[in-house]
């Protein structure tokens, strides 16, 4: 019994005097283990990668766009440009126009967001030949 106690105490003392780096690393990672917060840049990059998939199919486009619109944010112009190019690869003009409409609705009372988006997206829109809902006259009943 004493032998066990001595062995325990010795190992305990050894543990105290000679801290093992591996153990500390585990502890350190545990201290910060409340889930990694995704930064805005990572979020944007993730969605751009998603929409830039060369062989994206129609379901993935719908799923991605519906999920993105479900978030409490207005997507960055670069994400939208990737999404519009995905529409182009799928030959789906209607979805491209619909995305612009959805983004305009998503901006809600902030009337300055949508003109900024259109301004940023203008080169892509002209390159792809996408008309905005305003140009088509479907923004009013």
């Amino acid at each position: 019994m004493f032998r066990v106690a001595v062995r325990l105490s010795v190992s305990g003392v050894r543990g105290l005097t000679r801290p093992q780096p591996r153990c500390q690393a585990v502890l350190a990672s545990r201290c910060y283990s409340h889930g990694k917060q995704e930064t805005d840049e990572e979020f944007d990059a993730r969605w751009i990668t998603y929409f830039n998939k060369p062989d994206i199919d129609a379901w993935e486009l719908r799923k991605g766009m519906n999920t993105l619109i479900g978030y409490d944010l207005v997507p960055e112009p670069k994400i939208l440009e990737a999404a519009l190019r995905a529409c182009r690869r799928l030959n789906d003009l209607a979805s491209a126009i619909r995305i612009l409409e959805a983004v305009k609705d998503k901006a809600g009372p902030h009337k300055d967001i949508y003109p900024y988006l259109i301004q940023e997206l203008r080169p892509a829109l002209q390159e792809l030949g996408i008309s905005t809902p305003e140009e088509l006259g479907i923004d009013k009943v």
């Binding site: 479907i138 923004d139 009943v141």
Partner: protein, 173 residues
Amino acid sequence: MLRLTSGRLGSLLARRTSVMSASSSRMASHEVSDTVDMSRPMYCDRLDIPLPDKPYRDVLTDAEESLKQKEKGPWSQLSREEKIALYRLSFCQTYAEMKKPTGEWKTVIGGIFFFVGFTGLVVWWQRIYVYPPRPRTFDPEWQAMQLQRMLDMRVNPIQGFSAKWDYEKGQWK
């Protein structure tokens, strides 16, 4: 969601009437109306679902097919009308049409007023034909007598009821 449900309900009802008319023409046959397969992708117009699972128009005419073929080319060559036509093939309502006020509040307010008024009529009828006569304790003469009796009995003479009555002057303090 409500609109979606009503749309489904409407389509169900429409189907049911068509089946009923068909069966009434044949009389004896017991046909079961085919139901909407909810496991299939469905179209719905919602603000928070910009791209529904299914295009609005499934079966395309030849002209629409050729338009779809033209969509595979450069989009800048499409005219404004063709772009709108393509949009309408995929989607039923635009966002502007979805957000158009429906005026449903008028129906709701009217319904509220109608039912409140109807309830008022019922209460009026009950006052005349159902309720017993008012108790005698509600009469002003009875209440005056009761007040006088409470004063005579000197109810709560220290800080309460009778303490507020001036017995010498015969009035409230």
